[in-house]
């Protein structure tokens, strides 16, 4: 009991000494410090999505760049692919035909599907089945 009273008295003494000698130093620029603290709190509170967006944007640009390069190379190396095609380019045609033997005559016409063409020779010699043609 006596010990505890002594302890209590020593604590009171210590507390009084601390109060007398350890005063809180006044802040020189409290507003500035307040602003800095608020800024750092706001900065820490921001989501990290902005950092993740950068590679996605980079990917999109590189994709668009590759596409543009492909179009340019195709135009350089395969320009005919961009030329409009006329229907006549897909149809065969006899431009000129000449029989080289007087007994032969020639005529030409399109097949029923209009794409193929027939060159009809008249007057050629009959070949007997006994002759080999293959």
């Amino acid at each position: 009991m006596k010990n505890s009273d002594q302890n209590e008295a020593q604590w009171d003494k210590t507390r009084a000494l601390l109060k007398a000698h350890l005063a809180v130093p006044p802040l020189q620029h409290p507003d500035f410090i307040n602003i800095q603290v608020l800024k750092s709190i706001r900065h820490e509170g921001k989501p990290r999505a902005a950092v993740a967006l950068f590679p996605l944007r980079w990917l999109a640009w590189s994709g668009a760049g590759a596409l543009a390069a492909a179009v340019v190379l195709t135009l350089i190396f395969l320009p005919h692919h961009f030329r409009p095609r006329s229907e006549g380019e897909f149809i065969s045609q006899v431009i000129e035909a000449r029989a080289e033997m007087p007994q032969l005559s020639l005529s030409s016409f399109h097949t029923p599907d209009e794409r193929g063409v027939v060159l009809w020779i008249e007057g050629s010699e009959f070949i007997p089945a006994s002759e080999v043609v293959r």
């Binding site: 190379l73 350089i76 190396f77 431009i95 000129e96 000449r98 033997m101 002759e131 043609v133």
Partner: protein, 144 residues
């Protein structure tokens, strides 16, 4: 970046080479005859058989010979689908969708005809040849 450009360049050159080598001139000598029952159509004549039947009026087809070869613009070559008949073919122009050809048809040493044709892909040229035995000889040209 440099590697990507070189890869794209190589692809473009490869695509051009494939296009030039893609198609070939196919020629064939066919005997068309009327037979009962009809003979099955040879596989390589499956696409042209309906037109031959409609235009020439024969039901059975025999493939007597065929030949396929590449032709470049300005090039010249012989197409010999059979020993008796053959063609001298000169490629006058090679466009994206057709060949412009000068064709000479020979029977042995005799020149029968000279023709200049524009031959589009999958649009054959049919030449009605002489009669042989009971049938009709037909020469075919196609870009395949």
């Amino acid at each position: 970046m440099r590697r990507a450009f070189l890869t794209l360049l190589a692809l473009a050159v490869f695509a051009t080479a494939v296009r030039a080598d893609g198609d070939r001139i196919w020629s064939a000598l066919v005997l068309a005859a009327n037979e009962n029952p009809e003979r099955p159509v040879p596989k390589s004549l499956a696409d042209v058989a309906p037109t031959i039947k409609k235009v020439f009026g024969y039901s059975s087809l025999y493939l007597l010979g065929e030949k396929k070869r590449d032709l470049v613009s300005g090039g010249e070559g012989w197409l010999v689908p059979s020993r008796e008949f053959f063609f001298r073919v000169q490629c006058l122009a090679l466009e994206d969708t057709f060949y412009k050809l000068r064709i000479e048809l020979y029977r042995g040493e005799k020149l029968l005809l000279t023709t200049e044709v524009k031959l589009a892909k999958d649009a054959p040229l049919y030449i009605r040849g002489p009669m042989w035995g009971e049938g009709q000889l037909i020469f075919l040209f196609e870009v395949r």
